[in-house]
């Protein structure tokens, strides 16, 4: 691949729309691969039909030179492979945007200001297939699909002035063993697609992408995959789960990998069983995890409490989805915050942590296991549908930075001297024996108990043991927990400060950067730890900001309430729960409005 230095910046949003099964996703994946091989950064945003089969799908790709923080605002290029695809997803296109449509499938309505390219994808693809018919055997020919995706790819690459060489190389690698004619068919298809656009371009406007030299090894991966790999890196060797959108692919991914890592994975009969199994495995000494979404987290509540009361490390990833009850399973939301923080009868300690970007999914997963081990309690890891399915180009994580924590275990001296599993200590953390350790036997229990784990309802005992368990969260808050946040934007006095959590970090960074470029003093504090919150950091931050804005993706402003309950700061809420991530413009407008008040 020839690599020229970028002289211009790239920022193009391409949206593909069509019927599911029509190749939208594979064309999208191909495009992502080609563009990231040019050194550009990718950020995808997909919507999935609610139907099992059929329905229109949308695959949006923002390609950018340098870190890409959000899916962007308008769509520069819409590639419509069907009329329904066009109808459902042409909104959001820039008025002067570019439409590339399959002219075999439909004719779009007129729209002044727009630049249009018709591409008879099926005709061109069939033509290329026919061209090699005498060279391919009957059966193989019958099964050979016309190279529609490759025609589309060629057209798109030309449209955005991207070189075709990476695609050619890709075709050779992928189809090489299928024989020269097949390779030739695809390469020709690529060029035919490109040529078809070339012929129409004339003086028409086209966006450009400019290759960037690649300095570091990069990967293109989605949030759920990063979360699952992070779990393995953290030492997770037991997984039990029950399928649910949009968490299932974590289990599917780990099902393939777990045996290679010497661990076990079980598809449980329900989420109650899934968490029960994880608690059992962790009690037996393994690092264990389950992943679910809102409905499953609801079922797990009783056992999350058991984990808190019996002081068992466990990680529960909640990939939040849209809506209440069954809601909108294929849409996104940050609506489970209350359940994650408060979902318990009475009170027992739990840690809540949130992943904020695809790259961060890896590190948050590692952190979640470390915190669970260190503080011996359940850790709820919040992610969401948008983050889970988002593909991004990110630098290769530096694995030598992974630090692993293991639960505190009793010394042989402690084991031989009347071992106390729930010994009251200065940190609240007590040594945890593992079955097999002689002298370490105890009964793990949700019933109130003394230091030896013997049941007891004495008021003094109840007070001491509860204080001991909650002391662990205080210990965390006072030590490393105090730094579980990131600061962006102006360092000193700010006119507007944004406080937020989870998957909105990128879009908030982008919108605040835009505001700063226009001269507004804006700052942003992004919480990684939700319980316990980095309270001091939030208070200090609020003190240097004239106004605080708390944007979040749920109806009632759950995070804002939680922040106020912990810090008593005043803020403006921007809560919205329609199933979609924020767009940079929305947040930018909120900032401008708040500045004007």
């Amino acid at each position: 691949m020839s690599q020229q230095t970028a002289t211009h910046a790239t920022d193009v949003v391409v949206r593909l729309a069509g019927e599911s099964g029509e190749g939208v996703v594979s064309l999208g994946d191909l495009t992502v691969q080609m563009l990231s091989s040019l050194g550009l950064d990718i950020y995808t945003f997909q919507t999935f039909p609610a139907k099992i089969k059929g329905g229109t799908v949308m695959y949006q790709i923002r390609v950018h030179s340098g870190v890409t923080l959000s899916q962007g605002d308008g769509v520069d290029v819409l590639i419509a492979l069907s009329k329904d695809g066009y109808d459902s997803f042409h909104m959001g296109m820039r008025e002067d945007g570019i439409l590339l449509y399959d002219s075999d499938a439909f004719t779009p309505p007129e729209s002044p200001g727009r630049t249009e390219y018709g591409l008879p994808i099926s005709t061109l693809a069939n033509h290329e297939k026919q061209a090699i018919r005498s060279e391919v055997e009957g059966e193989q020919l019958k099964r050979l699909p016309p190279p529609k995706n490759i025609v589309g790819l060629g057209a798109l690459m030309r449209l955005i002035s991207a070189p075709l060489e990476p695609a050619e190389q890709y075709i050779r690698d992928l189809f090489g063993r299928k024989g020269e004619p097949i390779v030739r068919m695809n390469i020709n298809a690529l060029h035919v697609g490109a040529q078809h656009i070339e012929d129409q371009i004339g003086a028409k406007r086209t966006p450009h992408v400019y290759p960037v030299p690649v300095e570091r090894e990069r990967l293109t991966i989605n949030g759920n995959q990063m979360l699952a790999i992070g779990a393995l890196a953290a030492g997770c060797r037991f997984y039990a789960g029950y399928p649910i959108t949009p968490a299932s692919d974590i289990m599917e991914f780990l099902a393939k990998e777990m045996p290679k890592f010497g661990g076990e994975l079980i598809q449980a009969e329900d989420e109650i069983a899934a968490l029960g199994m994880c608690l059992g495995a962790s009690f037996a000494g393994k690092k264990a995890m389950t992943a679910t979404s809102g409905p499953g987290l609801s079922l797990m509540v009783e056992q999350i409490n058991l984990g808190g009361q019996a002081e068992i490390p466990v990680v529960i990833a909640d990939i939040q989805r849209g809506g209440a009850s069954t809601g909108m399973p294929t849409k996104t939301s940050q609506g489970d915050l209350n359940l994650a923080v408060y979902g318990v009868h009475n009170e027992s300690p739990r840690i809540v942590i949130a992943a904020s970007s695809v790259e961060d999914c890896f590190w948050t997963s590692v952190d979640a296991f470390n915190l669970a081990e260190k503080y011996q309690c359940p850790v709820i890891l919040l992610s969401d549908q948008a983050l889970a399915t988002r593909k991004c180009t990110i630098p290769m994580p530096e694995l030598d930075k992974v630090r692993l924590e293991d639960r505190l275990k009793p010394t042989s001296e402690e084991l031989s001297n009347g071992f106390r599993r729930f010994e009251i200590t200065e940190t609240g953390v007590s040594p945890m024996s593992i079955p097999g350790m002689a002298g370490g036997a105890y009964v793990s229990t949700g019933i109130e108990h003394d230091e030896l784990s013997n049941p007891g309802y004495d008021p003094d005992l109840a007070q001491r043991m509860k204080a001991k368990r909650f002391l662990k969260l205080e210990t965390l808050a006072k030590s490393e927990g105090a730094s579980y946040y990131r600061l962006w934007g102006v360092k000193g006095h700010a006119k507007v400060g944004i406080i937020a959590f989870g998957s909105t970090e990128g879009v908030l960074r982008e919108s605040t950067e835009r505001a700063r470029e226009e001269g507004y003093k804006v700052a942003h504090l992004h919480c990684r730890l939700i319980n316990p919150l980095p309270v001091e950091a939030i208070k200090e931050f609020a003190a240097r900001c004239d106004k605080i804005l708390i944007p979040e993706l749920n109806w009632s402003g759950q995070f804002g309430h939680w922040v106020r309950a912990n810090t008593n700061i005043e803020y403006r809420a921007f809560a919205k729960d329609v199933g979609l991530p924020f767009a940079p413009n929305e947040i930018y407008n909120q900032i401008i409005e708040l500045l004007a008040e």
Partner: protein, 300 residues
Amino acid sequence: MPETAVSQQQYAPKDYKSSLKPIWCPGCGDFGVLNALYKAMSICGLSPEKTVIVSGIGCSSRLPGFVTTYGFHSVHGRALTIATGIKVSRPDLNVVVVGGDGDGYSIGAGHIPHTARRNPDITYLIMNNNVYGLTKGQVSPTSMVPMASLQANIDPKRWKTTPYGMTEDYINPIAMAIAYDISFVARGFSYRPNQLTEIIVAGLQHKGFSLIDAFSPCPTFNQDQTDDYYKEQTYDVPEDHDPTDRVKAFELALRTDGYPIGVIYRNDTKHSIMEEQAALKARFAGQPSGSVSALLHRFV
């Protein structure tokens, strides 16, 4: 019961007795079950540190506290799930589950068929008193009065939540267990202590999931299914009974002339989830083992 959980050292039944005194009412059937368990563990030579006794919630579920092994007194109905997690992740441990009829056949009933499918080497000992003991006398899924009692104007047993008589039928746990193809199904009775010990030993030694339903009368809340009642109503499983014959096992489970005590069904041909998982891991053992770096590089 894995070999790894058997100790070289000899343990007497009393060696398994913890310092905690059972909180059960005088005359509770659970004492007999606990004593039979101590004896069975001693006979099997189980190492206390390699044994975990898991329970749910109920009078009977308090049992782990009275034993010197590791224990897990969990939440109502979920003991099997916790035990499965322990056993699958640590096949070297011996895992026993104990609990009540409400815990096992009502709130936790959904986990039984799935544990049967997985067939882990776990011994499940249910102390069946045909009533909810801990919550003081409500109807349980094995509380025995036929559904037609109200219509037939038979004076029905009045449980606290069925003051006018029961409107639901009861479960036959043995028939249910055979239907689920649980690989070892037996019935015991706490007032037949030697036999119960033998059954528990057989259950512990069975490689796979075993369910032992032990009648364990609750003199406090059940004046019908008392020790005397069961002494009259129980008899030994006929000597010529072949427990590997599933149809014969069903016939025995469905008999209405009382309750046969002993091993009613067994299926030694089933694999266990631990065996399957071990085979799966062995398939990858020769190859370069899982590496996080290799995984990440798949996405470059």
